[in-house]
Symmetry: C2
Amino acid sequence: MELILTEKHTDGYSVNWKIKETLHVEQTKYQHLAIVETYEFGRALVLDGIIQTTVKDEYMYHEMIALPALMTHPNPQKVMVIGGGDGGTIREVLKHPAVEQADLIEIDERVILACQKYLPEISCALTDSRVRIFVEDGIEYVQRHKDKYDVILIDSSDPIGPATNLFHESFYKNVYEALKIDGIMVCQSESPLFNRELLGNVHKSVKNLFPITRTYLATVPTYISGFWSFTMGSKQYDPLNAEIPLDVVNRLKTKYYNADIHKGAFVLPEYVAELFR
Amino acid sequence: MELILTEKHTDGYSVNWKIKETLHVEQTKYQHLAIVETYEFGRALVLDGIIQTTVKDEYMYHEMIALPALMTHPNPQKVMVIGGGDGGTIREVLKHPAVEQADLIEIDERVILACQKYLPEISCALTDSRVRIFVEDGIEYVQRHKDKYDVILIDSSDPIGPATNLFHESFYKNVYEALKIDGIMVCQSESPLFNRELLGNVHKSVKNLFPITRTYLATVPTYISGFWSFTMGSKQYDPLNAEIPLDVVNRLKTKYYNADIHKGAFVLPEYVAELFR
């Protein structure tokens, strides 16, 4: 028997992953959840039929959603991660020596539990004493907290299903208010090629709120088009002016992020740059 | 009837393109050649079952194989393109105002003819008076020319079939000798994720010959992993020190390349940078 997981990115374009083993399948309160072992990219978390992260290339996404903001902020002590129940973003956050508290706000506890059981390389940091886990809707959690966080990372799934409202300006406004006076937020803002309108809207919404707004890019083969965007809103610190201390970067033991990438990721191909003019 | 073109990138990972129409199919002397109309990315050139270029994203590849070298060289008058029978690289070469002669060396005339008939957006520049077309093995052509070209671009297909020998150091040595004393070569050097060993070998071979060797990257969704590498060998000019005249760049009417990308494309994620240490 040959098992194939087909992800239909669009009507005319789909990707087939040959599956060695299906480790876990369930319908949670919020979504269809599976953990599979792919031949090509190792174990993977699948939500509503879409691969969210794989053992082989998860570091590209997780390093790049977390480290540019953490290395831009001079002293990121309190960090919030919204979504990201797999724990990969928290793992990267905790690499920064200044971090004292990392709060994970994940709506679906079943994602956390499945990743803790089947994806230990990704979820390993969730048991760290600096981590607090809140199983709750990020939108509601953020509304109750004002002026408390140095960095907030919005590690959502695609804007369908439970994550839809995490792409709205009203949500970003609450994130703005949950940040301290010099706070920084980053959200994943989808493919610059396949989700151009959404990326343009996210950038515009963030720009309406934050004095410094910068979209940056990373390559993640697992995601459609292999190319992913992140949008940063910052109250005071510009990532392009950040002095990146090499001794700190070297201790992070990264596989994607480095001091050059910190600047290079913000360089946009013309077809992306024109979205924001 | 639903037509699907499946590209098997590896045993465990493949991509399905839904096909609206098959415009042309033939077995040439060198390879299986087809032109198809995809739903997602428009018309595409397919060689031996692998999509080489599509109307939707071809500019990313063609601008990035051609323009970094042309904008690094202060006066690129004579340019050679090896392979690239679709004409896209020649089109980008001719955008540079200094270019007086652009020679295309393509082994398979059928590729040129099919692209001229079915992909006019890509092949349009092949009728320009500055272009000379030589239907010939690039390896033999290069051997007969010494000290003649300012820039040589190696726009090969994958290192299987007719292009295999275009990835060997002995070939790069002949390219070196075909270049003038301040010449620059660029070759496409495959996916930094799926073809790591090959990329490492290409970089090493070029470095054995050229005083300045730089690998740079671009995102091209059509190619496996969505992420592609190019390796530049330069006798005198370092692309990182090039002064990019903005008035010239603006006249190029690019959709991917710009003055920031000229530098940003050379910034390597850690997992690529480590290949060359």
